[in-house]
Symmetry: C2
Subunit: 213 residues, 2 copies
């Protein structure tokens, strides 16, 4: 325990190559074969991992991949997953902008975007995880039946997202502007739990790309 | 004044044929010519008229039409408009389901839907003013550049509307899930003012039909 405390998060990441994946050349287009699962659900911006760990525990037949740029946050999820001995969850300590170097065409069956950075300034629009550049990448890695589920507490990011996805000709499958008042058994993130205590609404959207476009 | 108090709302409506229009055969396809205006903005479910009267006072070059099924509510707007001597606002004491018998193809330049009845029960879905049947009629009476602006406090009606309009292939021009926090100079309805006092969010959507579809 003493040693671990002294290590930086980046070192912990490198010490766990089976859980925090780095060798993408071997994995790309082969994830399902390697992990012996027929579906892959990807959370982009996983944070400390509560949401994806709960999903992984409930759905053992699906491979979950948690992408998180910040190593210090990712290692909290990593430690939790290791202590629970979960075998259907791996992590990527990477930037979502490079997503097409991790996954092949149509390799992913669902994307979760939870409480993404709103990047409120207009000049940072392209950094929002629902901007057109990201949508193009999602369309490439998602299979034709796949969907994207998105939650946020940020009213402006939600408005931007709904308008952008509509203009991108995506199909809206489900939407709520007050998720927790309207639905039961919602699996939450750490951030979401804190937010709920203040009685603020959570916005939710589920979409898919229209086929053949 | 004594006499007026004894009259029913329906009688007041019939006494004001220049303001509460009935002879649609004469008006259909001729509204702009008759009222010497180049644009017509229609509010469906006008209520007591605060919203449309403010708009009419600010935009004298546009003809405003307030449609309201309930005569008892409509006469409040009627009296207010008369006392203000507004000449660019008329009323329809009619059912929105018959809208194509009042207006011709492409005759309307904007539709406002403010705090429409949410009709929460599934079997009443078709009565919602944003159900497909109504959208078909709106598409008929709206010109190609026209838009629809919608406000509601009802989270479920808003979610239903966003999903339905997306599936109807409408273009989203603007959206807010917290209108009064994000915008200034919003013209409100009577109902909206009451709602705002409770600090509840107002949902807003502005859409248009895509051309050539």
């Amino acid at each position: 325990m003493r040693l671990r405390k002294d290590k930086t998060a980046n070192e912990v990441v490198l010490e766990n190559p089976n859980l925090v994946i780095k060798n993408f050349e071997e994995k790309i287009n082969n994830w399902k074969k390697i992990y012996k699962r027929e579906k892959i659900y990807l959370e982009i911006g996983m944070g400390k991992g509560k949401f994806i760990i709960e999903h992984a525990l409930k759905n053992k037949d699906i491979l979950f991949v948690g992408l998180e740029k910040e190593a210090t946050v990712l290692v909290k999820a990593l430690k939790k997953a290791k202590s629970l001995g979960i075998d259907n969850l791996v992590f990527l300590n990477e930037d979502a902008a490079n997503i097409k170097t991790f996954f092949g065409n149509k390799e992913i069956d669902k994307i979760y975007l939870n409480f993404s950075d709103p990047w409120p300034k207009k000049r940072h629009t392209k950094r929002r995880l629902t901007s057109e550049t990201f949508l193009m990448d999602y369309k490439f890695i998602l299979n034709e039946d796949a969907d994207i589920e998105l939650k946020t507490d940020n009213s402006k990011l939600f408005a931007y997202t709904v308008v952008t996805l509509n203009n991108y000709n995506m199909e809206f499958l489900d939407l709520s502007v007050d998720l927790h008042s309207e639905r039961e058994d919602v699996i939450t993130t750490e951030y979401e739990d804190k937010f709920l205590k203040n009685n603020k609404p959570i916005y939710f959207l589920k979409v898919k790309f229209r086929n053949g476009e």
